[in-house]
């Protein structure tokens, strides 16, 4: 179980996390979503005990991370963003070191290391130097060190970042296999990835929780997608003209042989379909685009909010919103 109550973390004047509270129940897998710089990593690092909170409390498996650091850390497996590693050790040497550092009983170590190697499918590379492995394998080594010793709580910071789709799928399957047995907090800035594995989703932005709900409830609240991709056995230009004339369609534009249609509601989707078939054309494709995180945000916070241009530091700290007129301008991501 993870309990975060009124967590605040400031770096100098920057409030990276500003009064965040949520719980992850035992056996639950919660997705932790937010754009870069929303405070995800800072929150997760605080849970992992890397630095203490400025104020508020964090408990891991019932242990306060500040007052009982050893007990909290024994119950925790942490996967840091960008999987750090010792390039000069082999996979197996590294995991044996982690088993010792986690104070696992001596007799249990060989078995535990073997299990972690198997769970992350690392058997074939166990004698290779970690520094010579590909990104996907290194990421799995990072997961293996988190899983080592079967900690009750797993905090995984963007475990799928930078992986190809197959590798992402493998990691997602691994996390899925832990569901019900471990308490998992899994962060990402890609919604579909989180929706795949998480039962519940906590969305943060600018250091605050903006939404928290069951994954399916959130999906229905979001009400499908607002953008359709349409293709029929008709010239794209003509198709575009027909779609644009349908009530409820906000915008239609040709994109190659398809037409991109923005709609106001679900009724418009059916209306587009009827209008196309009424012309005697056959619809070959009518797909809703999965909502991007930006769209989710726009809906959650009522629209009109610029998220992409929020100056943010990679470590989770953020600056105040830019003055009007500079939103989204490139190169404002750094800290002066």
């Amino acid at each position: 179980m993870i309990e975060v109550a009124h967590l605040v973390k400031t770096f100098g004047d920057l409030a990276a996390v500003d009064d965040v509270s949520f719980r992850v129940e035992p056996g639950e897998c919660v997705g932790f979503l937010g754009p870069n710089g929303a405070g995800k990593t800072t929150t997760m690092r605080t849970i992992a005990g890397i630095f203490p909170p400025t104020s508020g409390t964090v408990r891991v498996a019932g242990h306060d991370v500040v007052r009982e650091p050893d007990a909290a850390r024994r119950a925790l497996g942490y996967f840091p963003e960008h999987a750090p590693f010792y390039p000069e050790l082999t996979v197996e040497e590294y995991l044996v070191f982690v088993a010792r550092a986690k104070r696992l009983p001596r007799a249990a170590r060989p078995h535990t290391v073997a299990r972690a190697l198997a769970a992350c499918d690392l058997g074939a590379v166990r004698r290779r130097l970690v520094g010579t492995l590909s990104k996907g394998f290194r990421q799995r080594v990072g997961l293996a060190q988190a899983l080592l010793g079967d900690p009750e709580v797993l905090v995984l910071d963007e475990p799928t970042a930078g992986l190809d789709p197959t590798q992402k799928r493998e990691i997602a399957d691994l996390v899925l296999s832990l569901r019900g047995r471990r308490t998992v907090l899994f962060s990402s800035h890609v919604l579909p990835e989180v929706a795949q594995v998480a039962q519940r989703v906590v969305i943060v932005d600018r250091g605050r929780v903006v939404a928290e709900d069951a994954a399916d409830a959130l999906a229905s609240r979001l009400g499908g997608s607002s953008t359709l991709r349409l293709r029929a056995d008709a010239p794209a230009d003509a198709l575009c003209g027909v779609a644009a004339a349908v009530p409820g369609v906000l915008r239609a534009a040709v994109e190659g042989e398809r037409v991109r249609v923005e709609i106001a509601d679900e009724e418009a989707r059916a209306a587009v379909s009827r209008a196309v078939t009424a012309r005697g054309w056959t619809i070959l494709e009518l797909a809703g685009e999965a909502p991007t995180l930006e769209e989710v945000f726009l809906r959650l916070v009522g629209g009109g909010r610029e998220t992409a241009g929020t100056p943010a530091r990679e470590d989770g700290a953020r600056l105040d919103p830019p003055p009007a007129g500079t939103e989204g301008s490139p190169g404002r991501g750094g800290v002066a």
Partner: protein
Amino acid sequence: MIAVLRKELASWFASPLAWVVMALFLALSGFYFYTNLSFFLLNGGFDLTRGLWQYQFVDLLQRNFFLLPLVTMRLFAEERRHGTLELLWTYPLRDAQIVLGKYLAALIVFALMLAGTAVHPLLLLPSGAPVAAGPLVAGYLGLFLVGAAFLACGTFVSSLTDSQVLAAAATYTLLVLFWALTWNEFAVGAPVLWILSGLSLFDRFYTFARGGIDTRDVVFLLLFAAVFLAWTLLALGARRWRGVR
């Protein structure tokens, strides 16, 4: 702590730098032993049981001075560069265990280097040359203690940066300062000189090199190391509280 110590030793011996540093140390100490021995044999009449070793130990100390910062530079700087330090912080390890584990690993490496030079007195034995245990014990103890002080200083500097080169360079600068403190003895007044010579690491060593063991020197060198290790702990703690990598 043992886990960190063993990992450090594994990392050290996996790096080519380790073998270069150790080989350089043994080659240089062998060369100095050869020159010192030749000097004593050719000139004759000197006290071979003490005088030879006095020269040899001062030479060894200066080799340590150049090589030990290369042993400590990576201890924390590399962990910080790779981001592995923050992963260590998520394991049930106290900062003190991390610092001590790394420091002891450096001490063990250094002790192995010193042990390699033990062949020199052994080489003298078959020739019937006089070899007394006393000066050797004092000299090696002095070398080890001053080396321990160097290593603690290097460990501290390494915890302040994520650049190994910077860590080694800054350690040299600090050690040179501790070496050169008393050079300018005529430029400072007696009270200042008293304080400075109290702080000088190298003045402490000459008693050992001459075959004497002064408990004041032993305590000073141990304290010197302890103070730098305590500062290392504070430096790590400060990074944690500020939340920077």
